[in-house]
């Protein structure tokens, strides 16, 4: 086989255009495809399908949205640590349950 020049490439492409297999695949795949498509569009898209069908800008948008959501969520939690009201409301719940450790000294054994 010789390395292809322009003529060789054109000959190869013309011969490949006459390949009959794609026509055979077409008639095989066409058989009953309407039912398979209608079944597919009747059910909701699964998560894996949605992820696989994502184009690059969608992946970027999803990643950006995840960063924003996590940022907002973790930002609020970080703020809660320095929030006296939040701290007292959470520690105060323990007093209401009677589980406070402050009265241990008053207990008689």
């Amino acid at each position: 086989m010789n390395p292809p020049d322009d003529d060789h490439l054109d000959t190869l492409l013309r011969a490949a255009a006459a390949d009959s297999r794609p026509a055979a695949w077409t008639s095989d795949a066409a058989r009953g495809i309407e039912a398979r498509v209608l079944k597919r569009i009747a059910r909701p898209e699964s998560w894996s399908e949605a992820l696989l069908s994502m184009t690059s800008w969608r992946i970027l948008a999803a990643a950006a949205a995840a960063v924003v959501v996590i940022g907002v969520w973790s930002g609020r939690n970080t703020a809660d640590v320095f929030n006296e009201e939040w701290l007292s409301s959470h520690t105060g719940a323990e007093h209401e349950d009677g589980l406070s450790t402050t009265g241990l000294d008053d207990l008689e054994f």
């Binding site: 086989m1 010789n2 390395p3 292809p4 020049d5 322009d6 490439l9 054109d10 190869l12 492409l13 013309r14 011969a15 490949a16 255009a17 006459a18 390949d19 009959s20 297999r21 794609p22 026509a23 055979a24 695949w25 077409t26 095989d28 795949a29 066409a30 495809i33 309407e34 398979r36 498509v37 209608l38 597919r40 569009i41 009747a42 696989l52 184009t55």
Partner: protein, 190 residues
Amino acid sequence: MDCEESMLPADVIRSAQAGDDGAFRVIMRACKGRLLGMASRYVQGASELDDLGQEIFVHIWKGLRTYRFDAPFPHWLSRVAVNTCLTHLKRRQRRWSLFVNSEEPESLERIADPSPGDPEAAGREAAERLRPALEALKPKDRLVITLLHLDERSVAEVAELTGWSESNVKVRALRARLKLKALLKEYEPA
């Protein structure tokens, strides 16, 4: 029924746009031959073509409401099919680059020279010789080579199907041919 403008009445298209799957079935039945035939150049068998064909029709279904009757319906369908084929090629290339570091081209030595007396075998053998080089091309380069040389469409038709300008199609085709020649040289034993 054939996938021609005259064979797909506007009321069938409007019903499908409104969500009537019976009308959509009529469109699929009329156009599956044309659209699957276009897609068949980008796959390696009937099973992959079945998946790609379903993908094309799902995209058509989802985008049907955006069709405004400003272009012939079969052209619009073909454009959706070409875009879906391009996405399929990109996705396949991405998967390969993720899982395979260096795709070894299939050995061409096992493929005999085309038999002069058997055009069917010659076509199959030529397609097999081209396949590894086509697979190695960038998706858009492969698309333009396939549309121009394997589907034997004109530059104007390719421009209409892809949405690129005619000069863009010509430049891309020229570059793609050069790449294809280089790849064939690389893959074929001297």
